[in-house]
Structure formats: structure tokens, C-alpha cells
Amino acid sequence: MEDARKRSYGTRDRFTTVKWFLQASSGMFLVFFMAVHLYVAHINGGSPIELFDSIVRNLSNPWWLAFFLVFVWIITYHALNGVKGIVYDMGVSRRMKRYVSYTFIGIYLATVVYGTILALIVASTVSA
């Protein structure tokens, strides 16, 4: 067991390990979030053409609203961090990695801000 752990972490610096931990832990959260989402949207939500009512009903509940906001923040982080890792593995230079990183941070912020505003607008429209 100890040898296996050394094999896993032995070649990584601390920052890389933290980034790996964030990617892995966000992935574990997503297993749970995705299971709930698939159930609520595709089984409990009824037929696809009833989704509007299902979505607005859920978003008018503050707990579901919080759930979906955290879901958006985490899944977007996990997704973009994964794509960034793929781009890094394409052999980009250290300098270029910095620009790639800034680009992905920008895409992340734009996505979560947009997703948050969208959810809040829909929720406020329903409760108004």
C-alpha cells in the first residue's frame, strides 16, 4: 500500500498534487451531482416537453437553486481543467502554458458568471 502511494505521488511536486486532488475530488462530487441531475431531469422530470415546468419549479426552490449553481461551478471547473490538461500534454512551451491557463480561467469565469445569472433570472421570474 505504501509503495503504491509512493508510486502514485513520487514524481509530482506539491502544486501538481493539489491540482490533481482538486480534479479528482471535483470528479467524485460530479458522480453524485450527475446521478441526482439525471434522475431529476430525465426520470422524475417527466417527458422532455414538460421540462420547462420542471426546471422553473426546481429553481424556485432555494435549495435546488443552490444545488444547480454548485453543480455548474464544479462541472465547469472539472471540464475546463481536463481540457487544459489535454492542451498541456500537446507539448506547449512553459510560457504558452501560462497563456493557456489564463485563457481557461477566463472561459471558466465567463461560464460560471453567465450560468449563475441565467439561473438567478429564471428563479426570480418564477417567484415574481
Partner: protein, 135 residues
Amino acid sequence: MTEHKASIISWFRFDRKGLGFFAYSMHRFSGVVIVFYLYLHYAVLSNLLRGQATFDAVVRAAAYGPYGIFIVMDVLLTVVIFYHGANGVRLMLNEMGLGLAHHKALFFVLEAGAMALMLLFLYYAWQAVLSGSGL
């Protein structure tokens, strides 16, 4: 530390590379597919702002598509999501030092479990589709 280049095409060169490479390649490929779908999903959800009639029309078109072909694509997407999730769990367990000695068996067990859950999900989701399509 040696840098290694990995083009996307090289993900699909499976010859003599073993199960580990297949799992690695498919994890990345499935991840890219999910990211593409994620942003498509956000785009569809943006139609919530355009009211129920527009949103329902968009979702109905996106749910069924011409000749129901989008349902086939949804099933393929479901395979990709469940594969990615199960392999992600395996990777995390392996990184924690669990199941490393039997990582191939762990891969098959987790993927089989995920596919069984997926079939269960598809069965119930299909009931919902049938109830709304008038099929």
C-alpha cells in the same frame, strides 16, 4: 521531468498498448465529448429566458430530432458519461493506492456496474420519452 507530446490522433492507436492505454484514451475522448455537450446544454438552457413556448419547441427538437436520431445520440452520450464516471472512480482509487494490483479487473468491474446502471437509467428515461412523444 520529461515532457511528452500526445496528439489526439495518437489516442486511437491502440495496437499493442494494452487495456491501460485504451482506458486512458477513452477517458480523454469521452471527456472532450462531455465538454462539447456541456456547452451545448448551456446554450439550450439559455432558451429558458425566451419563454415556455420557445423553450419547449427547442427542447422537443433537441430531444427527438429528425427521425428520432437525437435519441440515438443521447444514448451514445449516456454511454460516454457513464464510462467516464466509472473510469474516473477507478483512477481515483488507483491514485489512492487501492486496487492497483488488480487495476484491470477493477476496470471491468466498475465499467460493468456503470453499464448496468446506465441500462436501468435508459429504461426509465425511455418511459418518460414515450409518455411525451405520442409514439
